[in-house]
Symmetry: C2
Subunit: 452 residues, 2 copies
Amino acid sequence: MPVEKPWASDDNIALFTDLYELTMLQAYWREGMTDEAVFSLFVRRLPETRNFLLACGLADVLAYLDGVRFSDASLRYLAALGGFEAKFLAWLADFRFTGDVWAVPEGTPVFANEPILEIAAPLPEAQLVETFVMNQIHLATVLASKAARVVAAAQGRPVVDFGPRRMHGTDAAIKGARAFHIAGVAATSNVLAGRLLGLPVTGTMAHSYIQAHDDEAQAFRAFAALYPETVLLVDTYDTLAGVDRAIALARELGDGFKIRALRLDSGDLAGLAVETRRRLDSAGLQRVEIFASGGLDENAIAALVAKGAPIDGFGVGTGMGVAEDAPGLDIAYKLCAYAGKGRLKLSHGKPILPGRKQVFRAGTDNGATGDVIARAEENLPGRALLAPVMRKGKTCPGAVPDLPESRARAAREIAALPDAARGLEPAASPYPVAVSPTLAEYRRAVAKSVGG
Amino acid sequence: MPVEKPWASDDNIALFTDLYELTMLQAYWREGMTDEAVFSLFVRRLPETRNFLLACGLADVLAYLDGVRFSDASLRYLAALGGFEAKFLAWLADFRFTGDVWAVPEGTPVFANEPILEIAAPLPEAQLVETFVMNQIHLATVLASKAARVVAAAQGRPVVDFGPRRMHGTDAAIKGARAFHIAGVAATSNVLAGRLLGLPVTGTMAHSYIQAHDDEAQAFRAFAALYPETVLLVDTYDTLAGVDRAIALARELGDGFKIRALRLDSGDLAGLAVETRRRLDSAGLQRVEIFASGGLDENAIAALVAKGAPIDGFGVGTGMGVAEDAPGLDIAYKLCAYAGKGRLKLSHGKPILPGRKQVFRAGTDNGATGDVIARAEENLPGRALLAPVMRKGKTCPGAVPDLPESRARAAREIAALPDAARGLEPAASPYPVAVSPTLAEYRRAVAKSVGG
């Protein structure tokens, strides 16, 4: 029984939108409202456990904007759904994104209310893309921001992404592996992410391999014969007995023993790591490393590091893979200008800064001292964070640097943040973000014009 | 600049696996370990804020098992990655899933340690599929379980899925819409989920539509002219002024005013709903409903319902879409038999029940009173929850009922749970789940055989 697999693809991605976007599009089309709109994507508030967010996901947004089309099958579905005129569907058949986009580069730390990207395009175009653009930036930013904390906690020890099995679907696992890489994660277990994105992939062995053999020593021997430089998982039955079996294998194989590390996956990881290290060292196996996994997140890793647990690397799954403490951000994509006029809304607790904007980050090469959100045409001290990444629907050269460059940027930009912002604990005083006097005055004027 | 879109597809889904699965597969292949393995998928512990989980995701698992193949491009990638012999890759080219699967039907409430599905297949086949099978059951079960709570809180008022923009990627949004539907959500805003899965789609209007017009009254008038039975969003500038503008439009249009509802999206929803209801009623618009959205989850909805807020339906986004309070489950896929012998591991805090199993749910037609996890061949009082869904790699007829049936099952099975299990608060005493004496004895014997 072949079942159609409900996956997003080039053929159908134009329908990855909320129904109201299409309903509004038809209204804009009928009303002739095709002047330029500016939408701004930003996060209203940071989660309590984030001192900064690491912007990510732009590559997928640009690839989508470059190619979004309504296929015949998608148009037939909309016709069958009802509520759409044939002429409007014919107009949708020719839909292309022809707008401009400005964005902060992937791997840039951002704060509340700072635009991550802004889109200027004919209103229907900028409206339709809302759902996908938000979905992808949200996903990658949630995951990169979490991973940056895990990487910081590991203090230079490699962190490996073990998340695919419990991340939210295939798209999250693939895009997440990329976001983790930009945030400094060393490698992923996700083979498809390796193929599609060129990420380094890695892996050890599972309990099932040990269990399927009649005894643990035999399983170690067989795996080491095939993969001499592998990592042996030692906690299937009794962790320290597993360590002793690995040491026995080293005695058995002599110079042929090239195992890189032992993996601990359960129990008191700190205590087990100390005893494992002691036994390995006593056996002359100082070069064999200890790798830990099992329910880890930045707090667990920080605690292990603080205790001085002799652990050389960490495999991190669910906690990072679903960003367990902050899986959702208060992200918004809001109209801030239309037909040359600044726009905002006055809804309780949901402010908008009108018009196109820029963010200036002040500070020396060694450190960022604060940001100012300004009108796009202002020229203030500090680095301008938003740059053009798409012009008239075409991605600008260099808009999406290769992954090593984005990863290096993230490392550099995070290092430049004040200590408190880089720490795992909520910063006593948040990183300073101001609104420029010119933008504040413009906001007041626009608010007045809509009755605020 | 066309950028390859990193999406899962039929062509590449075989690589949606952890690297160690392939490493182990090559070892099994080399060692001739192709006897039948049984793997069991279950959740070790329920999150504190879940009294039950709603099993979901089987349809996608069966579709995958039915069709999983290594494409030439995938095999070329593995060859380039290194570490795999050409003969092993040739063997992978012929890889098919030929095993048997038993599962609880989608929409069945399950508890800690109860198998959601069990796979019996040659060891390499059952091993390779671990990552995808876990990923999809985890995703759908996380989201269905959350949605069941939101639906329960709404006490019969329709709940609409507004999640796509903040769910974790496209796959989560599509599969999530299906899981929400099974859990009782009335409709989704996700058009692609509508196309791919035949789900009911719905939507209202966004703030941007109001903002793009020079005044709110004009925006209401234009939208109502095109969509007479739509829902008007009234909180863009001042909620009660928006309500008054909708009432003014009703006076203006007379019998032509067919607006179904007003939507409140910010502020004190309970207070605003009361005043909105009062103004609508005073204007003779008793039939116009009130729809609420904005940061809602089951607790917020329960509070609104408890206050008697006159709200007729709820749009729920992020809280449900990322299952904010419990985005990850402690789900496991564990080897429990190989080559006719029960298998387990003794890792601290991570128990396994060996061998193929069955779950018997005792109780009358009106209520479930407790479950017993037993060996597969036992015949105990109560309904057996696991049924064959795939035989020799072919999906069994009826294994995946149509969506209305799964949705009806979920409603019926949840209704049959004890009150405490159905409640939003953590149950004072958890739903009773026992291990049968026969299974317990078998577990002791297997543990002894591996040194436990």
